[in-house]
């Protein structure tokens, strides 16, 4: 059995796969090319993880959702029709749907147990304040309605263009603009209530 995770495989796969589109790589994977899976994972899985982390605020759940979303990508590969949509658009949509499923299953009080990766070169006090700010964003995000949260995360953290967000969410571009605007206003209002805790007056 060919071991996809070996360094040798990495070297062989890296030479050509990096130049190909997601579409072509997915077709190659469907035709039995193991190297294509590594390149697709390197490109797409971090995006799934980032969105899932922001949607769920929980690392372990976000990692499970990422694995699950990628599994669906592997299984879907033979049925993929090139040119109809971007692979990443499809994968973002699957990821968001899986996040909604996870949220439905879990209790509301687990929404904001959110450990964030910490920066190495900050003082202890700065780290605390930084963590409080990040938690504040996560806590505020978790108070938004699902659709607003999805739109805000895709627009302002993933930095996707509105038409692509519209494709992912299955709504019009105008609807995306409206969702992000309302989401941002709601976030600002939630954070305004916590301004003193976050130490912005000093910075």
């Amino acid at each position: 059995m060919e071991d996809l995770t070996s360094p040798l495989h990495e070297i062989r796969g890296a030479s050509c796969a990096a130049d190909m589109s997601d579409d072509v790589l997915l077709r190659q994977f469907a035709n039995g090319d193991a190297a294509a899976a590594r390149e697709l994972t390197d490109r797409l899985a971090p995006r799934c993880l980032s969105v899932a982390m922001r949607m769920l605020g929980n690392r372990a759940e976000a990692e499970d959702v990422t694995q699950d979303a990628m599994m669906r990508l592997w299984q879907m590969a033979p049925n993929w029709v090139s040119g109809q949509a971007k692979v990443s658009t499809w994968l973002y949509r699957v990821t968001l749907n899986l996040c909604v499923d996870v949220q439905r299953k879990k209790r509301p009080d687990r929404l904001d147990d959110v450990p964030e990766p910490e920066d190495g070169d900050l003082s202890a006090a700065e780290r605390l304040q930084d963590a409080a700010r990040k938690d504040a964003l996560q806590a505020a995000l978790s108070q938004l309605p699902d659709r607003q949260r999805q739109a805000v995360i895709l627009r302002h953290i993933e930095e996707l263009p509105n038409p692509e967000i519209a494709g992912i969410m299955g709504v019009s571009t105008e609807a995306v603009e409206s969702l992000t605007a309302r989401g941002k206003r709601a976030l600002a209002a939630i954070l305004a209530g916590r301004q003193d805790e976050l130490g912005y007056e000093d910075g």
């Binding site: 193991a34 899976a37 994972t41 390197d42 899985a45 993880l49 690392r59 990628m70 953290i157 941002k184």
Partner: protein, 122 residues
């Protein structure tokens, strides 16, 4: 501070938080990468597997009667039947005498009658 200025400040702070969030997007941990690629490999190998060959008539009949285990039971029962037929225990009637009744001449001899007239006739 008026409301408009306050909202503008909040927006700036929000943008600052978004910028911070973008800088701290999580990297894909190695163990998750391995889990994902292991899944991919399983799916890929599964797809490369040749389709199962069509099953023979004999195999389908065997399946119909319950596979090899039922077949061995059937064979054992048949063998026991044959053995009882060939070498019946004493307490059972001899099946041969039931199916083929004894010939008349033996019956007459058994009765102890004089059969010399039969020999004379020859």
């Amino acid at each position: 501070m008026n409301w408009g200025t306050k909202m503008a400040e909040n927006d700036m702070e929000l943008d600052q938080l978004f910028a911070q969030a973008r800088q701290t997007r999580p990297e894909l941990p190695d163990d998750l990468s391995v889990r994902i690629l292991t899944d991919a490999e399983a799916v890929r190998l599964d797809r490369l597997k040749p389709a199962a060959p069509p099953r023979s008539v004999w195999a389908r009949i065997l399946d119909g009667i319950g596979g090899w285990q039922s077949m061995s039971g059937l064979v054992a029962a048949s063998a026991a039947g044959v053995w009882i037929g060939v070498s019946a225990p004493d307490f059972l009637p001899d099946p041969a005498t039931i199916i083929y009744p004894q010939e008349t001449s033996f019956v007459v001899a058994d009765l102890g009658l004089d059969t010399t007239f039969l020999e004379d006739a020859e």
